[in-house]
């Protein structure tokens, strides 16, 4: 079992404070969801954990099995067991999906024990069929010219092939139709088990019908303001974020409030 602890995390971007003391602890075997209105710092949290250079941690720690990972470069965090399914994955021309994924797997193995092409391709084929992906997706250049839905599936494909300890899914549901949402959820549910934990960031409750979380955190104004079980997500869907804010007596302006 592994643990991921976020302690009093403060993060700023371009001098603007976004996270103002986030605390969250999770273990492998658990699925946590973070919900919250737009502009509240959900994506900032995921990028700060992964180590995006634009996000500056000004206070606090992120511990993986008790060790602070904030001093590590991005690739070492990944090899330590973290994975971030990104909202806007980069396109890399000239590098095929298959060779990239194989490279990522082999980066975690000793040099003299690289995964054979044969067993890699077998795994890749099986995983792609779980995600209803066509074979040609393996030979296409990484995310280049992919539709929004294809990119999201491709993130989950990488997740399933790399098998991290903890996966953060940053709005993996945005822009997906219901069929694609089911496929993506099927992939994540297949990963569920004692050696895998996931932090699912979402704006809407819908995704959580398909991937049922153990814990739901609500984030507002750069902090986690409430925790609960799956029923909390349903309540938010019915009542909206403003109701919860007012109940908690928080002085936070919601970005979409005027609209």
């Amino acid at each position: 079992m592994s643990t991921l602890e976020i302690k009093d995390l403060h993060v700023s971007i371009e001098g603007k404070n976004i996270l103002k003391g986030v605390n969250l602890t999770m273990k492998t075997g658990e699925i946590h969801a973070i919900m919250g209105p737009n502009g509240t710092g959900k994506s900032t949290l995921s990028e700060a954990i992964m180590g995006h250079p634009a996000y500056k941690v000004t206070q606090g720690e992120v511990l993986l099995n008790g060790e602070n990972i904030l001093g590590l470069p991005v690739d070492e965090r990944a090899r330590a067991g973290l994975f971030l399914a990104m909202q806007y994955p980069a396109e890399i021309p000239g590098v095929t999906n298959a060779e990239f994924i194989r490279g990522a797997i082999n980066a975690r193995r000793p040099e003299d024990d690289a995964l054979s092409i044969r067993s890699f391709l077998k795994q890749l084929d099986e995983t792609m069929s779980v995600l209803d992906m066509t074979e040609e997706m393996a030979d296409r250049y990484l995310n280049e010219g992919f539709s929004g839905g294809e990119k999201k599936r491709n993130e989950i494909l990488q997740l399933m092939m790399i098998k991290p300890k903890f996966a953060i899914l940053d709005e993996i549901d945005s822009g997906l139709d219901i069929d694609a949402l089911k496929v993506v959820s099927r992939g994540v549910n297949k990963m569920r088990g004692p050696e895998f934990g996931s932090l699912i960031i979402t704006h809407y409750q819908r995704l959580l019908n398909y991937i049922v979380p153990d814990v739901v955190h609500v984030m507002m104004g750069g902090r986690i303001v409430k925790q609960g079980g799956p029923e909390l997500a349903k309540r938010l869907e019915d009542e909206g974020y403003a109701g919860l804010r007012d109940e908690l007596g928080l002085d936070i302006k919601l970005v979409d409030e005027d609209a």
Binding site: M50, G51, H52, P53, P73, V74, D75, A78, R79, F83, L84, M86, P89, A90, E91, I92, P93, G94, V95, F100, G103, A104, A107, R108, Y141, Q158, I162
Partner: protein, 430 residues
């Protein structure tokens, strides 16, 4: 004009040792005598004049130890010529070519057996011996090379591969000349590899003349890996007659300082030159690449696509010159030059130069010098790839459009391997 050999004992004794024809020795002397009034050529933003690029060693016949080749990555190509220094060490798989009437001879053999043919093309069409100081020094000091002649109406299906290995275990100038003539309505594919063995500080002066006669098609590819202590002037010049085409694919993977002058003269109507260059500069080296296409005939097409990557404290300059001469109606000149910087200390330059003297033409250019996309790097690293591996993948993506446009898959693959090797070596200095 009569030439007085007696004043030039070195040329006289060299000519005697290799038994070259009189016309050739004459042109050597003329080239030598023309030097005082000639200057080094100028290339925009390429400052090489103070390099040891001028030839200084005495003209002499030397031979090399064949065992030096043992450790070099020489592929066992089906149709192969291997030269080390001034010696030709291997010619294999050429029978099928010879049966088609193709002539493939090293320099001395060509002067001996095909003197008339060599005389017809040597520094006559593509380049003049007294064009500048470097071409004149070249002619006066030439000691090795290859002559290829493909007769009319001959389609040679498989490529010829050559390895020209400069011997820098000895302190000699490397003065090398290649002539590739493809006669009308013929096709030929050629892959040239330039390499260095040894680490003496030396100068190389290499000229390649490619003459495409009417309706011919030439695929010319090169992978250049000259050594860190070799200072090079490399001139590849195409002369294209009516409706001929040359596809150039050049990989500049040298480790030393080099001026590459890659030109195509589209002389005949409908002539077409496609120039693809990929270059990687590492360490402290300077690579200056001046690629020019001149549209002279009507409806000629000249396209330049060059992408390069710079690491450490190195320099890479790409000039792209599209010159449309008055009267070249319907000509098309397009170019794209891009440089990707991996280091803040590296210097990159991409200069588009369009010189257009006619109205009824199409022309365009794109040029950029930029840094590695940080989002791409972050994405790749977030999957666990170390930074250097991630950088190499981004670089491969950047060079991809040029590599993908190379007409031969074999050469594309070979270039990829060479690029990977050069990048891995170059990253060690970062």
């Amino acid at each position: 004009m009569t030439v007085e050999f007696e004043n030039y004992p070195e040329i006289k004794s060299y000519a005697k040792s290799v038994t070259e024809p009189k016309w050739f020795t004459d042109i050597r002397v003329k080239a030598l005598e023309s030097q005082p009034k000639l200057e080094l050529p100028n290339f925009e933003k390429i400052r090489y004049h103070r390099w040891p690029i001028q030839l200084k060693e005495k003209l002499k016949k030397v031979s090399s130890n064949a065992e030096l080749l043992d450790d070099l990555p020489i592929e066992d190509a089906k149709h192969l010529v291997v030269q080390l220094g001034q010696d030709t060490l291997q010619k294999s798989g050429l029978t099928t070519f010879e049966e088609q009437g193709v002539v493939i001879c090293d320099w001395q053999e060509a002067l001996e057996k095909h003197s008339g043919l060599v005389q017809k093309y040597f520094m006559q069409k593509a380049i003049k011996f007294d064009e500048d100081l470097l071409t004149a020094q070249h002619v006066a000091n030439l000691t090795s090379g290859l002559f290829i002649y493909v007769p009319k109406n001959t389609v040679v299906k498989e490529p010829l591969t050559t390895y020209f290995v400069q011997d820098s275990t000895q302190k000699n100038d490397y003065v090398h000349h290649v002539i590739l003539v493809v006669d009308s309505n013929s096709e030929f594919s050629y892959l040239e590899n330039l390499m260095t063995v040894g680490s003496e500080k030396t100068t190389a002066n290499i000229i390649v003349e490619v003459i495409a006669q009417a309706d011919s098609h030439i695929k010319f590819a090169s992978v250049d890996r000259l050594g860190a202590n070799t200072t090079t002037y490399l001139n590849r010049r195409g002369y294209l007659e009516r409706n001929s085409k040359i596809d150039w694919s050049m990989g500049m993977m040298n480790d030393g300082n080099i001026v590459g002058d890659f030109d195509s003269d589209l002389v005949g109507d409908g002539a077409h030159s496609e120039v693809k260059v990929v270059a990687i500069s590492t360490g402290k080296q300077v690579q200056g690449i001046d690629t020019r296409v001149t549209n002279i005939g009507r409806h000629t097409i000249g396209h330049i696509l060059q992408h390069g990557v710079i690491l450490s404290r190195s320099t890479l300059t790409f000039n792209g010159i599209g010159h449309i001469i008055k009267g070249a109606k319907g000509a098309d000149a397009q170019q794209e030059s891009r440089v990707l910087m991996l280091s803040t200390k590296a210097k990159g330059d991409a200069n588009p130069i369009l010189l257009i003297d006619d109205n009824d033409v199409t022309a365009g250019h794109a040029a950029s010098v930029g840094r590695v996309n940080q989002e791409q790097l972050y994405y790749l690293m977030s999957r666990g790839l170390p930074k250097k591996v991630a950088e190499r993948l981004v670089i491969r993506g950047f060079l991809g459009p040029v590599l993908a446009a190379i007409p031969s898959k074999v050469i594309e693959e070979q270039l990829k391997v060479t690029i990977e090797r050069k990048l891995v070596d170059g990253q060690k200095d970062e």
